[in-house]
Symmetry: C2
Subunit: 239 residues, 2 copies
DNA sequence: TATTCACATATTATCTGATAATATGATAAA
DNA sequence: TTTATCATATTATCAGATAATATGTGAATA
């Protein structure tokens, strides 16, 4: 039986048109190729460029508008908003930004926030976390250890560890910062697989402090973990 | 000349259908009336309910999806995502949440973050802010003083003041937190008009420290301003 | 009985073409 | 010079169609 022709490939993805248009325009905006100063193509032009119907273009525009990147108005057309309005904590925007910014700059910006957020989160987790939440943190740590032992990727477990701490801090807005951490860990683990095992003991110290309900120790253990990671990454990036 | 009939008012806004559908569904999701456990109405049903075409419904769905509230898939339909995925820092989501949560709870959550972010931002502003940026902070403060003198609403100036400090800290992710502050100030100024003049001197102390490039003083002045505001609000809410 | 496979079906994804609303700029009037 | 009127360009909304795809059903099989 003749294998089905795999893709139409007129020129690019035809199956996920919407996602493709969103990502393509989003990236162009973050790069600055489309800016508030420049005129934005109108729906019809975008449709022609992407080979998409107006529906798809309009849905993509609404998606980008919801992220604060653009706004659209009858007769006026579409325009790029000032970066001030961009939802930088949106996972997509975060990734687009990461892929276009100088790595060192992005990373220092990111860690500045993590150092602000996570020690306090660890502190609160030690105070407010209930048994189940602390168990979740412990489980994530166990998964990290197991990954280190079997030398498999522990990035998911690492993320779970940090997210579980945010969750145990009982502040929904804090939990939101998980996106930041996700990107940070993703970069870290892509740059260096081994970083992982090195930092395991520091994670353990955070966990132990939380279990012991020692909030100050939890905070400083987390601060220590992050500073060391940051320094480690800086060395890596520089070389 | 007969005045034009002002609105079709079949039942609700007909002019901004898209925005209406987004707000309506968004609110229902935040309230929990639509949850991950429950089945979500399909596009056709939503269209019937809102008296809107499928295009409008689909655009609204994409807008909510971009905020992490829902996801949609062929054949499976639409489903509400876990609150973990919600973009809580999105201005709309923030407002929906504010209007449905117990005020005291929302407020304490909010201030926990502000106390985390803003003192450090003030500290960084004192170190990194350039002349123009510091001038912007000063201008905002002048506008606040003027508003206090003329007893007009200074909420815009207040917001400008805090945003200008975030901007002077030179970290785009930090600047993002401006949305939080906007909601916080909005609530504060709605609860009490006079709070404004009372806190003017504390704002001044922050400004002065930044001008003097005294980072530690700027940080503690900001911390002081926020704690006092929080306590003031707590008293107001309790009564 | 349990597992695998083929297939009908329900729902979103995309396309097409039309009408309505509205902000802008041009034109005319004051 | 300012104000009022109007044509126009662009998005907003509607309507109806076809395509793609995940799910469950039932048949075939071990």
């Amino acid at each position: 039986m003749a294998q089905q022709i795999p893709a139409p490939l007129g020129r690019g993805p035809k199956r996920n048109l919407f996602a493709h248009v969103v990502a393509s325009l989003g990236l162009r905006i973050i790069k600055g190729e489309l800016s508030p100063a420049l005129p934005f193509p109108k729906e019809a032009d975008l449709g022609a460029e992407f080979g998409a119907s107006r529906s798809v273009i309009r849905e993509a525009v609404k998606s980008l508008a919801a992220r604060g990147l653009i706004a659209s108005q009858t007769r006026t057309g579409i325009r790029v908003l000032e970066p001030l309005n961009w939802n930088l904590l949106d996972a997509e925007v975060l990734n687009w930004r990461y892929s276009t910014m100088p790595q060192a700059e992005f990373y220092s910006e990111l860690f500045e926030i993590r150092l602000l957020i996570e020690p306090e989160a660890a502190r609160l987790a030690a105070i407010r976390g209930n048994a189940a939440e602390i168990a979740t943190i412990a489980q994530a740590f166990a998964a990290m250890s197991e990954a280190a032992r079997t030398e498999t990727s522990g990035v998911a477990a690492d993320l779970s560890f940090h997210r579980a701490i945010l969750a145990a801090a009982h502040n929904a807005l804090l939990l939101q910062m998980g996106n930041l951490i996700a990107v940070g860990l993703d970069i870290a683990h892509r740059l260096s697989r081994e970083s992982f095992a090195v930092f395991l003991p520091m994670h353990q110290r955070v966990l132990d402090a939380i279990i012991a309900r020692d909030s100050d120790a939890a905070g400083s253990a987390m601060r220590h973990l992050l500073s060391e990671t940051q320094e480690f990454m800086n060395r890596l990036i520089r070389t």
